[in-house]
Symmetry: C2
Subunit: 327 residues, 2 copies
DNA sequence: GTGAAAGCGCTAACAA
DNA sequence: TTGTTAGCGCTTTCAC
């Protein structure tokens, strides 16, 4: 009841196993009629080459891993799922299989994995990276950069995203702009925060201490924080939130204070998640093409696998502001 | 520059390859001190067993696939991502690797895949199923049942979910309840629709033709459809939507018509997605524990792999209504 | 263009 | 408890 092998096909078609092998992996190297004989025999036997045996012989698995390096809550949140989708589509069209895992789970098993490369999403720990490198696995980082490692990294243009958001708010006549920052991965948090500070400077806006609030990543925490931002006479005219969930929290707080959006306070979010258009008013947000980020990861990965040497170390994906009714 | 093999460890530690193999896969079967010798040699050489060679010898890959059978738009939407997460966590803790793919991509490559089993999420086509079965791959279905196949299926209790939603609305005093149905997978669409009809009957509510609306899965289509439901003198007092996105559409339509929620019209959604608490008012929704569904899939899968025979054919996961401010 | 044969790195009888 | 050895199913030189 086990599957037919290359030997069965070889026997039935009357050619050697080498030829059968070639017929499947390098069709051009066998004569037309021989190839047909082989395919026919294969069809009769319902033969399909075994990927494991192939991997064994070629010392190459055609498997890649997408490892989510992110603690807490939902593993596959919308953003990482988007990147994953980009990676997966591109990987599949290049005949790779994609193994998905979390950093924790990945490190629990010491066994050498059947993969040629790994794409690490988020806060990749140095240990994981060097471990993978020791195993000869190519590594690409996304939404993170690892100082001290010479690896291809794919990130979104945080600087420009924040700048676009603030520029837009200024154009709408706002000068008193507040920040609602959340605790995300270290890279994103610091990157986005710095981007905010420098964008404010660039736009000649003064940044009041009281116009900066911190919160956790859930909406309740965001609502509370936004409340303290908005419940005062000198409240800001606009709030830039670190992501859309936090922005929704701002909208809630505003609603409870009887403030209209965008008339009394404008709100801008980040990520352009699916929630943006569900909210009322619909949320202005910085759109990040996470699918493209995933695809670019695969571009870098294939370059690595093919042994190319002039691979960009840092790839910055452009972002764009999606203006809606909240600003 | 290639990795050390079991032979290297065998030589350095002075024991046979068989013992090295045992030391790693059945530690109990080698004497304490022998084992230590082996581990030490392995550490020196930085040896890790090759998963491919192992798979080759054992005729078993320890890889499973999660295949998303769903056309269009986002592949990894929140619901399927949730199931995926459950599957992944459980799979990883059982030392399996999880390959994620879509049905289309999967079928594009004829090569026999390196997997022991596949979990098909959504509308699995009969072709795919029989193809996998021919390859000796165990199959489990989730959020779908395939008539004509004798396979373990894991689904949510659609009947009860809808019944709970309607019972709740009736308790709130509503008797004129409308349905906003979307076009989802064939299984979900028909299941949820039938559940609605039978729940209405059970609750002795009359189902007016004009109180049923159909729409696509995007919010704009939902808003339009909800508008026709609500923009008439005999408008329903409550609307049950097929999922949360559609429910958000209802909320938008109500807002434009100046109707208050829940005073003028109550709204209930389905899935209890993250959007529910972002909306204002927060959305009452039927909570489906998709992570648990994923974990149950893995339960069935391991039973299959272990050759158990008394595996439940259908597993129905209980659901619960999360009551919030929209009803 | 095709074939013979030596691996690829591990596991699992079977023997000791 | 440990060792010997024959595979697992394919690829890939190297001949012809």
């Amino acid at each position: 009841m086990s599957s037919p092998t290359i030997y069965d096909v070889s026997r039935l078609s009357g050619v050697s196993t080498a030829t059968v092998s070639r017929a499947f992996s390098e069709p051009d190297r066998v004569r037309e009629d021989t190839r047909r004989k082989v395919y026919q025999a294969a069809a009769v036997l319902n033969y399909q080459p075994s990927a494991i045996a192939r991997a064994m012989a070629r010392q190459r698995t055609d498997n890649l891993a997408y490892i989510i390096c992110k603690k807490g809550a939902t593993i596959l949140d919308e953003f990482y799922a988007g990147i994953c989708e980009g990676v997966m589509r591109r990987a599949n069209s290049l005949e790779y299989h994609l193994v998905v895992s979390t950093a924790e789970d990945w490190q629990r098993t010491p066994q050498r994995k059947q993969i040629d490369g790994a794409i690490l999403a988020g806060d990749a720990e140095p240990d994981l990276i060097s471990e993978l490198q020791r195993q000869n696995v190519r590594v690409v980082l996304v939404n993170h950069v690892a100082p001290g490692f010479d690896l291809p990294c794919v990130v979104a243009d945080e600087q420009d995203g924040v700048l676009q958001a603030l520029t837009h708010l200024v154009k709408q006549g706002h000068r008193s702009i507040a920040l609602l920052a959340g605790r995300f991965s270290s890279y994103i948090t610091s990157e986005r925060y710095n981007a905010f500070v420098s964008a404010m400077k660039k736009l000649n806006l003064s940044l009041k201490e009281t116009n900066i609030a911190m919160c956790d990543r859930d909406i309740y925490s965001a609502t509370r924080a936004a409340f303290t931002l908005l419940d005062r006479p000198d409240r800001p005219h606009a709030i830039f939130a670190f992501n859309d969930t936090l922005a929704a929290g701002v909208m809630k707080a505003a609603g409870r204070l009887g403030l209209r959006i965008p008339e009394d306070v404008a709100v801008v979010g980040y990520d352009d998640s699916t929630a943006c258009v569900l909210l009322e008013p619909e949320l202005t947000s910085v759109h990040v093409d996470c699918r493209q980020m995933g695809e670019l990861c695969m571009e870098r990965m294939t370059a690595l696998v093919e042994g190319k040497t002039d691979i960009p170390r840092l790839t910055v994906v452009p972002v764009s502001l999606k203006v809606r009714n909240s600003s």
